[in-house]
Symmetry: C2
């Protein structure tokens, strides 16, 4: 009953979008605690009260801002030898591509001190990463393999985008693909030895 709105380019929707955009930017840059409602309002050139009026609370605003869709490709159909390369290429698109927003940065940056963000990030793992990895190899192993894959990818994201560790920032895309790719390949396929 609240879902069908075929035509509505209304004025308010634009400011609502402005607020959400400012919130995503600031949450992604400074985390949940570091970005106040007043900061968001200032970035959206609007009164702080409007932020609450459009989104009921800061928690709800964060919940709307912390939406992530990794759009991982189905690994079943591609070459089994290119699993690692496929994953790391998609990773770079998610974090550096123009299409994907700062969703992952929002979650990762806030997850260390905000339990809701941590739970959301665990859900991304369970609903988006795990199934993709489970599609290859034996399903009983899926959690372990997906966990290993995530440990490498989240670590790379931490070092390169949040912590900004100079040597990791300096890595070229090719460097990353050639070094991290084989690791992901081994983790995702579940092989122990070299």
């Amino acid at each position: 009953m609240t879902e069908n709105q075929p035509k509505k380019p209304s004025k308010s929707d634009r400011t609502r979008a402005h607020i959400l955009e400012a919130a995503r930017h600031l949450f992604g840059e400074h985390g949940y605690d570091g970005a106040s409602i007043r900061d968001v309002a200032a970035h959206a050139s609007i009164d702080p009260a409007m932020v609450i009026r459009y989104f009921r609370s800061k928690d709800e605003l964060f919940a709307r801002a912390a939406v992530v869709d990794l759009q991982l490709p189905a690994l079943r159909v591609i070459d089994r030898n290119a699993v690692g390369e496929t994953l790391i290429r998609r990773f770079l698109e998610v974090w550096e591509g123009p299409a994907s927003g700062p969703g992952m940065a929002i979650l990762l940056r806030s997850s260390t001190s905000h339990e809701f963000a941590a739970e959301k990030l665990r859900e991304v793992f369970a609903n988006q990463v795990r199934p993709v990895v489970a599609a290859i190899g034996n399903p009983a192993d899926a959690g372990r393999r997906a966990g290993l894959v995530s440990s490498q990818l989240l670590g790379l994201a931490m070092c390169r985008y949040l912590l900004r560790l100079p040597p990791v920032v300096a890595l070229s895309h090719d460097d990353i693909i050639q070094n991290i790719g084989p690791t992901l390949q081994r983790y995702a396929m579940g092989k122990d030895g070299p």
Copy 2:
């Protein structure tokens, strides 16, 4: 002039230690923003004013609490084929052993939203991880190799100890050593192919 105090088991030193212990525990569990001075004082069964009296400010308290000494072994002397295993074993000691405190947890948890903690963590990388990796392989490569090693280790720490991703928490020490070890070996030695 302020360094030589041969005998001083004074009463105040004990409460100072209590405060620091409480601070390390709470900073490691909730991060810089999530742990207030009043929380620290309550955990140390003392008045909040005492926390400021002993350490001049919250920032200084955090600086005292966020001290990390990884005590990594010199990789030059050990078997070059066991570099990865040596690193991951030391990692497990640092994070789960009884001797090492929550130092790394403090830094990692706060680094996402507290610039000082991020800088401290980068210093740990530059002063403790990088030199150890530089001791093997050619030095020109050291930053890149140490960066790759750190990306895997920090990612594992994130998933297992901060985010507490269930499949990563469930990994046994042997599982971790057998899977992460070879990755670190490859990163640290600077080999591309399998």
